[in-house]
Symmetry: D2
């Protein structure tokens, strides 16, 4: 008996990814699809402009899309709603008793809502207890460019402490949703701006890496500076990072911190967890989004080129899959953690 | 009567750009083409895999390619030779009395060789007097990713002083020459490594922005950290920069420093000089390589997104054309300055 | 004293191209810009998402956008309107006495409206006399993929006659307007369908190559079969063509027919006319959109790879610039012909 | 006990694909790698520039590359050798008793060598009996652009007969091997020429669709005209086809012929066989290489847009994966058929 789940924003790009990743999930089964009024009432294949590789899963093909009203036949809601509407709709579902696992940014900074990466801050799940939604609740995952960065910073923060992080991103087109970036704008080009992205990267890690003290998150005190760019890559964000550590570290110690990093999802053997959260490569031209984004189910983060930085302490490059680890896959992993931790009961 | 010039490495990508930019030049006329033994003796169209847009200029089409021996019928040598052979060949030509204006890296750090950007360090031309080549001499221009950066730093260095520069680049494919980067390696991808590029960006600006003291260059004392990436752009390097200044500056003062920047090439009205060396844009998604690389003959540098940096002081984005301003066009501008300053006499 | 012209659909992709190509036009001067209600009343730079390379021309930067009502201060109207609205608006302008030179498809098959390519059917301009718009009139140019094909067929039709044409296109993204094709849909992909495009390619050439008999167009009797594809090219349509001729021809005769082809625009020395309408290349991998689209002001058509076809008679490849020759530039050439033929009087 | 196989040309692009596809193969196990002298003696990861997505399989990582001499420890040889050397080396291996399953073109037209597609001409395997290699033999698969076409023609040829085929291809970059096409040549471009490709497409189907009569292949009598283009797609060839049939057919009958097509590999349940050799799509913008190339293990061919052709009878679009179905996967399927048919005995 699988746990019934519903997808909000089921026709959007994150919604499609949820559907693709949940096909054959061992614990969850999609039983409801929610989308805008325009799509409601239609069969899913008629409502969606499906652009995932591979066909629409068969059982989904016959489903009728509903409006995003809290009368869906499911227990968990995965929300890929646009932030223009996600805030209120997600609250409604939570009030109606649904477990809302959201990829949208609206509730990320609510003081009682976990901004969750299972490998990084699984203890933040306790915040749920302070929520006033009755049996329902809301859990969020961070922005797609934040997740890769934080997974890589976590082992360093734990072992050496981090004072400052300078990051320049080269982000994939799928991060902009669909239709997103016009081909005329990005072929043979770079766009050195993504709306609100730098603000998210500079603030979200502080909450995620923060401590739970007396039921409240005390933000981590590092300083982050982000410059975000869109490049002609379909999937996979690449980030050039430099860090200033609080205590000294050798290159070998840093690599060891990454290579030995393992966490709750690995210990609990969650179905969507990568075997290893981060991979370090010795090749001087690695990681690359096309080569590495799909490794370990698209749920791992890939690091290379660790070397001294003459201004801060060290610099390196990070790549991760922005719509799997950075969005739908990350949310599914959050829900899996909640099941194992018995925040969700079958 | 135009000054006769020869192109070394005439079949390579920089050589082709020299030929394209010198068509109809008011002062210079190509009278000799040099390339490898394999090409020597052939008509140019049979020796070259021409990939510039637009056809081979007519007068070049009938020229025979020579070997790179110092018996060419010309006064100035523009060298686009590969660094594996440029060092010795360029010295030979200088010893034989030619004015060698090189785009190769080999002699850039010779103490008596100017590493020249006419808008930045025209006084460094005096170093030539210390060279021991008789009537000949060697002048170099910097690496393609350095030029854009230094042109933008110069007005800030003059007015506020610079302590540190952090730069992450997204560099165009034409920077790798031809055939250069395989399409299978870069479509839908980023390669976070370019051999020796970071070393060049971290060292060349120190000499260029250095002072000529008693006939010697004293390097500028700023610290530079560079991370260099290859992206799927044909022409135009984009750089995300953050800087720490020596004395405080407001955003308005910085923008004013850029907007009011003008220098020798503009005053001397050199034929290849841009009307303005740098342009600042208010649009939050500018500059972009596809939109801005060709403005002002491809010789200007384009800046946007100036904003506070929480770690250093300010951050911004820079774009410039890597094979025009950053290579062949930059070298031609060097030669034009030398003519006006009478280092070259018709 | 230049002739005042207005641009309808001035913020769209064809409208932007009109503005770019008319900067410094010797006969025409833009004095009015029309666009949708949403843009009307705004300064042009605030109304437009300008994506041409190079900046908005200065005199245009200060112009206010008007609604598309026939009270604009100009004599000629260049229309780049979307076909959803072009039909009625263009008629209104013609009735109000404007010379409407349209790139839209709505009036192309009106029996009294010329579907004009100045090198091919300049005599069709006479149809205007049958129009009932008083001093106003409407002239159209063909679809972007039709123009290149017809310019190449015309010399063959004249000399040998054509029975059948099989054409498969690989069309550029700018043909879909802006934002047009989503980057997620076309990077690393081909889309083997463009709405209505095959119908246009199979019908428009029949009218253009038709004869004017007693004031009516009698369609040409060739059969055309078209397959249209979208590929990841910014500008420039490429077409693989095979033809069955009515009378036998050698390869040399066909190439001669192309090389010797010249027509009204060349004889009249129209400002936007290419020196030669078609170019034939001997290189076995030519023509290519990136290499050839901009040659001769983007107004020429480029042909290569003529060889026997085992099913029809001959096959070859054609490339032309779809938004210059195939849209805005073609319309401007139409207006220039009308001036010289005194259909438009200053 | 798996059958030991060796890969010739193991460091090339087809060789890498063989290695990737044979990881976890139920019948075959790679026990030897052959490559050029330059690679011989090195560990595979040091000899190869691996560019497959996903890492080098672990068991391969420790293998030493050998020269391509017939002393390899294996029974079957998969050859991805360059055609400049494949002819003689493959013959040597066959003479030494190896089963050579080749992707190279050298032996494709040897009268006693099957040019094999298991769904199309499995009976041609009998030709092997005429070979004079003792226990060894050579079997080839067709060119990557041929396979997709022939799989789609086969059901039509069987049911209606085919007189003529006109095909224009848009071929992927991986078909050119590695490094293959320079990025500067193909980004924002189409190259309308691929050396020898049109000749292969016009001749190979005639042998494959030919009949085995008294131990000899009698070629099929259809006429094929091909125009081949390279486009900016990583994997997956797309082909626009028009056909003239020998007997009349309705659209429904043609679609039925495709949908009901099944053959030996499906009946024998070969491990690499697709569930269905061809898929027909109703969507008017399908098939697309990015969406469909990997479906059904990358071994199926995808068809769409069947419609009347005004010159021949019908036209449609075909897409298939050029390095899986069209190269390494096709060769593996050939070997699987040979095992089931007992041409190879464990």
């Amino acid at each position: 008996m699988k746990i019934p789940v519903g997808i909000l924003g089921a026709t959007g790009s994150v919604g499609q990814k949820f559907i693709q990743l949940l096909e054959n999930h061992p614990w969850f089964e999609i039983t409801a699809l929610g989308a805008s009024e325009r799509s409601a009432g239609k069969k899913y294949p008629e409502a969606v402009n499906w652009f995932m590789t591979g066909p629409i899963p068969e059982n989904i093909s016959s489903m009728i899309v509903n409006e995003c009203k809290p009368n869906l036949n499911c227990k968990i809601i995965f929300s890929g709603l646009d932030s223009s509407v996600a805030g209120e709709i997600e609250s409604e579902f939570a009030r109606a008793g649904y477990i809302v696992v959201s990829n949208s940014r609206n509730h990320r900074f609510d003081p009682d809502v976990p901004l969750l990466i299972p490998e990084v801050n699984p203890d933040h799940l306790e915040l749920i207890k302070q929520q006033n939604f009755g049996k329902g609740c809301i859990v969020t995952n961070p922005n797609c460019s934040t997740i890769g960065l934080v997974l890589v910073l976590k082992p360093l923060a734990d072992r050496f402490g981090i004072e400052a992080v300078n990051v320049t991103t080269m982000q994939a087109l799928s991060g902009a949703g669909y239709p997103g970036v016009a081909s005329l704008d990005i072929i043979d080009n770079v766009i050195p701006y993504i709306g609100s992205e730098e603000e998210k990267m500079e603030s979200e890690p502080l909450k995620i890496l923060g401590s739970l003290v007396n039921g409240e998150i005390v933000n981590c005190d590092m300083i982050i500076s982000a410059q975000c760019n869109r490049v002609a890559v379909l999937d996979g964000h690449t980030e050039c990072v430099s860090v200033k550590l609080k205590s000294p570290a050798t290159e070998a110690e840093i690599i060891d911190a990454w290579k030995s990093f393992t966490a709750e999802p690995q210990k609990l053997d969650l179905p969507t967890a990568p075997l290893r959260p981060v991979y370090y490569y010795e090749q001087n031209n690695y990681p690359q989004p096309k080569l590495h984004r799909n490794i370990d189910k698209g749920m791992a983060v890939h690091i290379g080129r660790l070397r001294k930085d003459p201004i801060l302490d060290y610099k390196f490059v990070v790549t991760s899959h922005n719509t799997i680890r950075g969005a739908a896959g990350g949310a599914i992993l959050n829900a899996e953690l909640m099941v194992k931790k018995e925040y969700i009961k079958p």
